[in-house]
Symmetry: C2
Subunit: 317 residues, 2 copies
C-alpha cells in the first residue's frame, strides 16, 4: 500500500530529503550541503542517494512511496517541472528536474518554488490552517511570498504570482536584487535592513548595533539591529520603526488588493515577534481600507525550522 511520500528541499546552501506518512508526519530526514558550484547533475545524484537513504532510515520500501514533492528556488514551471536559472542555483538552466526525478523513482513528482510551497505548508500544517485566503511572506535574504486560495497555491499566468516583495514603494529608492529600485525587498529584506543600519551607523556610530557586530560595521546583520532594539538602543529602534512602516505599507497594498483572511510573516518577522509585528499591525490599521483591514489577521508564521521539509511534503499530502 503506497502511503508514504518523499519531500525534497533544494536550497542554495543545503539539500534535504524527508519521508513522511500520509498525514505529513515526518519519519526520517537526511541533509547535506548543496555545493551549488558543482551544478545540477551533481546535486541530482546526491538527491537520488539521499532519497534512498531517507527511505531506509524510515524503514519504508521504495514501493510504498506514492509521490515526491520538491520545494526549490524559482523561477520554475510547475506544469513541465523545468527549473529556469534560480539565482541561488548556478547552472540550473532549463533543468528538467521533474522528468529526471520521475525517471529515477517512477512516481509522480510535483515541483514548486519555495515561497509557494512554504505558503501551502503554513496553510496545511501551520498558522494558515482553516483559512480560505492565506498570504505568506518571508523576510529573509529576499522577501518572497505565496498566495493560497481555498487550499491551493495561486500560480497566476506563468507561475510568477506572489512576488509581493517586488511591489515598488520608492521608485527612486535603493537598487533591488531584481534590477529595479525601491521594491519592498530592497527596503526590508535582511540585507536591506543591514544596509540601512550601516548607513545609520556611519552617521551615528554610538549604537549597540555596532557593539553586537563586534565593532565591525561590515559584520552588521539584521539580527544585530533587532537585538539592539530589544536593548532599547535608539538607532536600532528607529531602524525597526522604518522597517515596520515599509512592511506595513506593503502589506496594506496587499490587504486592499487581495483581502486575505490572514497574512503570515516568516523568518525575520517570526524571530522579531511583537517588536516588529505590533508596529506593522498599527501601520496596516492606519493605512488600509476599513473593511479588508477588519478582516485580516497579521500573524507570525508557525513552522520555523521544519518549514522547508513541511513545504516539500505539503505538495503531495
Amino acid at each position: 500500500m503506497k502511503k508514504h511520500v518523499v519531500g525534497i528541499d533544494i536550497g542554495g546552501t543545503k539539500l534535504a530529503t524527508v519521508v513522511a506518512d500520509a498525514t505529513g508526519n515526518i519519519l526520517s530526514k537526511v541533509r547535506q550541503p548543496t555545493l551549488a558550484e558543482q551544478g545540477p547533475e551533481y546535486a541530482l545524484q546526491q538527491l537520488f542517494e539521499m532519497v534512498y537513504e531517507t527511505l531506509a532510515l524510515a524503514g519504508v520500501e521504495q514501493s510504498a512511496m506514492s509521490a515526491i514533492g520538491v520545494s526549490c528556488g524559482g523561477p520554475l514551471d510547475t506544469k513541465t517541472g523545468v527549473v529556469y536559472s534560480p539565482p541561488n542555483l548556478p547552472g540550473w538552466d532549463a533543468f528538467p528536474l521533474k522528468t529526471r526525478l520521475e525517471s529515477e523513482f517512477q512516481v509522480p513528482v510535483t515541483i514548486e518554488n519555495d515561497a509557494n510551497a512554504s505558503a501551502l505548508a503554513e496553510w496545511r500544517f501551520g498558522g494558515g490552517r482553516g483559512y480560505d485566503a492565506v498570504l505568506y511572506m518571508t523576510m529573509s535574504t529576499g522577501i518572497g511570498g505565496g498566495i493560497v486560495l481555498n487550499g491551493r497555491i495561486y500560480h497566476g499566468a506563468n507561475d510568477s504570482a506572489g512576488e509581493v516583495g517586488h511591489q515598488i514603494l520608492l521608485p527612486d529608492g535603493p537598487r533591488c536584487g531584481c534590477g529595479k529600485r525601491g521594491c519592498l525587498e530592497a527596503l526590508c529584506s535582511g540585507p536591506a535592513i543591514a544596509r540601512r543600519a550601516k548607513d545609520a551607523i556611519q552617521k551615528k556610530p554610538a549604537t549597540a548595533i555596532l557593539t553586537l557586530a563586534g565593532g565591525c560595521i561590515e559584520q552588521v546583520k539584521s539580527e544585530h539591529v533587532l537585538e539592539a532594539a530589544r536593548q532599547g538602543d535608539a538607532v536600532a529602534l528607529k531602524l525597526v520603526e522604518e522597517t515596520a512602516y515599509y512592511m506595513g505599507w506593503g502589506i496594506t497594498n496587499l490587504v486592499n488588493i487581495l483581502n486575505p483572511d490572514i497574512v503570515l510573516l516568516g523568518t525575520i518577522a517570526m524571530a522579531a515577534g511583537a517588536l516588529l509585528l505590533e508596529p506593522i499591525r498599527e501601520t496596516v490599521a492606519a493605512l488600509a481600507m476599513a473593511r479588508p483591514a477588519d478582516a485580516v489577521k497579521i500573524m507570525p508564521a508557525q513552522l520555523g525550522e521544519t518549514l522547508g521539509d513541511r513545504a516539500a511534503v505539503a505538495l503531495v499530502v
Copy 2:
C-alpha cells in the same frame, strides 16, 4: 421553460433593468434616474416596476425568468445580499437587497459590486474571454477593480478584494476619497487628473486644456486634458505622461503580485486609447519583473456603453 434572466444595474445616478436570453443577449432594457436622495425603498419600488416592464417589452413571461443578477455599488455582502452604505447610495444602510428582490420575484438573486461584476462581464463577453487570470480596472470617478480567476470573481475574505485603486503609491500625496493619502485613485481617477490639471494651469495658464474647458478653470475635466494632449498641448502631454507613469507603477505592482494573463483598462483609459495605453505599457515593461511582464497583456476593456447591463447579466448566465 425558464431560460431568461434579468439584470439590474444600480448606480448613483441611474437605474437600469434588462432581460437577456440564456447566452446573455440583451432583449430589452428600461432605464430611469435613481433619484438617490429618495432612499432605497423608493428605488426598490421603481426597480420592481421596471423589471415587470422590461419582461413585458421582451415578451417574456415572469415564469420564464430563472434568476436575477444585480450590479450595485459596494460595499456589500455577496453571501447575504446585504448592501452596506455605498458612497453613491445614501440611506442604503444594511439594506437586504437580495432578500427583498427574492420575495418579490421568487427567483434566486445574485448581487455583486459593480467593479467585480464588470470584471466578470469582460471575462464572459469582452476583452477577457479565454483567459484564466483577468484583472479589470476602471478609471472613472474612482479607480475600481475586479479579479476573475478561472471564470470566477475572486472575493477575498469579506468581499473586499480588488481594491486596486487603493494601493498607496505616495503616502504623503493627495488625500483620497477613502480617507488615506496617495492612493492610485487619488492620482489617476478622473477627478484626480482634473485636479492635477488645475494645479498645472495655475502655474501655466497658456494651455489648450483651459480653452477646451471654456476658459473656466473650475470646468476642467479629464476629457479636456486628453483632448488637449491629442492636439499636442505641452501641459496636457505632461499630465498624460504623469498619469501613465502612476498607472504603470500601480499596474506593475499588480503584475508582480497577481501575474495576470491580461489587465483590462476601462472608461478613461478606453476612451484615451494608445495615448494612455502605450506609455502605461512602457512603464510596466520598465518596472515589472521580466517573467510576469512577459506574460501580461495590457488592453482596453471592450464593453463600453453596454458594460453595466452586461455586468448584471454576467452574474447569472
